[in-house]
């Protein structure tokens, strides 16, 4: 039996003393060193917190007109009331609505809190859908090569040839307006981005020695692609996915703004913007606050995505 040399034992001991360093640990370290990424994570953290606890945080029912609440109606609540905060000197006899009321006399603050949930759902479902389909298509294309690759990637090229929002509008027009259809449309439109990323990674990973070694061990095609190659191709996908959530939220807001996405009375930021766009001058808060909410959400995902890209990319300064 081979005996272990003292040098090897020493090396081993040294290795065991070191805290294990993994890609994710390293990535976390780098992300916490980057201020913009931290800002992104903080905003996102607040957003997630609000999205989870919105029923507790919201002072009113987001879909209920205040005129239907007797004490509010008695206190003289009216539509498109400007923000009124008692602490900041709003007269005590006026009902308090932190961000004012909208055209249907609903509490804007509650609506925006509820909207955070929809925004996150929209972002994650569309990107999740696009990533799953895109990964399968890009993975199979990259792994098989040849005609399958050609067929899949040319289809993706066709999808990419349209401006994404126009294509999404076209799909929603065919399927009919509604949030689910809008999500599906945005999901379909973003598939090619992920398919391309995955294909590129698979093309490089499948040529590595360990994939060759796995082949020699008798690993079948399915297992090879989905268990061996894809996990090694995930990093760029995570970055693209994070940035993609921002685009998806923006696109969904745009569709809702046009009346093709979320339908009233659903408290969705884009549709809130769209419903009150004619009152920009008379009641600017109704456009301003949903707009700010969209912007902050998109910004947080973009900052986090940028941070992740820097942290996960070994080529950038380490």
């Amino acid at each position: 039996m081979a005996s272990t040399s003292t040098a090897e034992i020493a090396a081993l001991d040294e290795a065991l003393q070191r805290p294990p360093s993994s890609l994710w640990r390293d990535a976390l370290r780098h992300i916490f060193r980057k201020r913009s990424a931290i800002v992104g994570m903080v905003i996102l953290g607040i957003l997630v917190f609000v999205a989870i606890f919105h029923p507790l945080l919201a002072p009113f029912d987001p879909t209920k007109s205040m005129l239907d609440v007797p004490e509010q109606a008695a206190a003289g609540v009216h539509k498109r009331m400007p923000p009124c905060i008692h602490l900041l000197g709003c007269p005590e006899d006026q009902p308090q609505h932190i961000l004012g009321t909208d055209g249907n006399v609903r509490d804007l603050f509650s609506r925006i809190l509820y909207g955070s949930k929809w925004s996150l759902i929209i972002g994650f479902t569309t990107v999740g859908f696009a990533i799953v389909i895109g990964t399968v298509l890009g993975g199979v294309g990259g792994y098989m090569g040849g005609w399958a690759d050609n067929l899949i990637m040319r289809l993706m090229d066709v999808l990419l040839a349209f401006p994404s929002l126009i294509l999404a509008i076209a799909i929603v027009t065919v399927l009919g307006p509604g949030l689910i259809n809008a999500l599906l449309a945005i999901g379909i439109v973003s598939i090619p981005v992920y398919a391309r990323i995955v294909r590129a990674s698979v093309l490089s990973v499948r040529e590595t020695d360990y994939v060759e070694a796995d082949r020699a061990l008798g690993v079948g095609h399915f297992r090879l692609l989905f268990h061996r190659i894809l996990p090694n191709a995930l990093t760029p996908l995570i970055v693209a996915g994070t940035l993609g959530i921002a685009t998806a939220i923006l696109d969904a807001a745009a569709l809702s703004f046009l009346g093709l996405g979320a339908q009233p009375p659903m408290p969705e930021w884009g549709s809130m913007l769209g419903a009150e766009r004619n009152q920009v001058f008379s009641a600017p808060h109704l456009v301003f606050f949903p707009g700010v909410a969209i912007m902050l959400t998109v910004l947080s995902f973009n900052l986090l995505g940028d941070g992740l890209r820097d942290a996960l990319d070994p080529r950038l300064n380490r």
Binding site: L12, E212, A216, L217, G218
Partner: protein, 350 residues
Amino acid sequence: MSQPPHSAALQSPPSEGGDLRGLPPADPDVLLDIRDLRTYFYTLDGIVKAVDGVDLVVRRGEVVGLVGESGCGKSVTSLTIMRLIAHPGRIESGEIWFDNVNLLDLPIKQMTDIRGNRVSMIFQQPTSCLNPVYNTAYQLSEVYRIHDKVSQKVGRKKALDLLKQVGIPDPERRLKSFPHELSGGMAQRVMIGMAIACVPELLIADEPTTALDVTVQAQILDLMRDLQARLGTAIILITHDLGVVAEMASRVAVMYAGQIVEETDIHTLFRSPKHPYTVGLIGSVPVLGQIKDELYTIPGNVPSCIDLPEGCRFAPRCRARLDRDLTVCLEKNRELREIAPGHKVRCWLY
């Protein structure tokens, strides 16, 4: 110097004539019988004949060395046996009889079952051959899960046994290690563990020690010899290091430009090499403790496998041909002939 473990290896392999084509080897002791194997790569620059008519016999439990310079087709030969040649390569012709089955005729599904199970392979770069996203336990137990269809729990237990078998210190801890936490020697032990997991009948070791430093190299060779004796696995040892061959193999085939030019037992190879290329190869090995002004080198370069010389592939570099002024070498390639029992040479001198 080690004794060859199997005296059977010293006897001559059965002579094969054209009449054997398409039939399994007659001798049940023969584990692998490669006949006239040709693997070509169709590149834009032309057809690369990486393996061009290789015949090789491996008996059960025997260690055969496959020696040659870089680019002579050793690795392609091994990949061809595993049928892992990818586009633009193609296995042109030949037969690979493994235990009465021609591997080249097998459907891909059955071939996948054989890989890693009955024939497995060790590669040159141990650290890059382990998947970076999985730990040792996962990768080792995968082999069992694929071939023996055992549960993850059983696989893990077997993985631990394997690590003990390949002599990794602190195996419980190493199970949780990821490839980047292993040294080259440890990674190669893990690779060997994966390769022997299913107790294969044939192990192809493609330069298993080239990437390791000398002390670790000796340990790995020890380990391989130990496992070989214990499991009775036949090994094809591919290397350019004649020292490794001398230590491990009982029989050696020397490859040059896609063909085997000499095949004999290990003692004859070093004592009386016949092919001028083998003579040059052995002559160019530095000997410890012996001071020479200049190491012997074989003049010229390995021919490109795209436009190979018409006659003997070694002829343009062959000093013996120049000395004897032979012209036949440049015109016709010699077949691999048995010049003594168990000693085959492809040369016009014999």
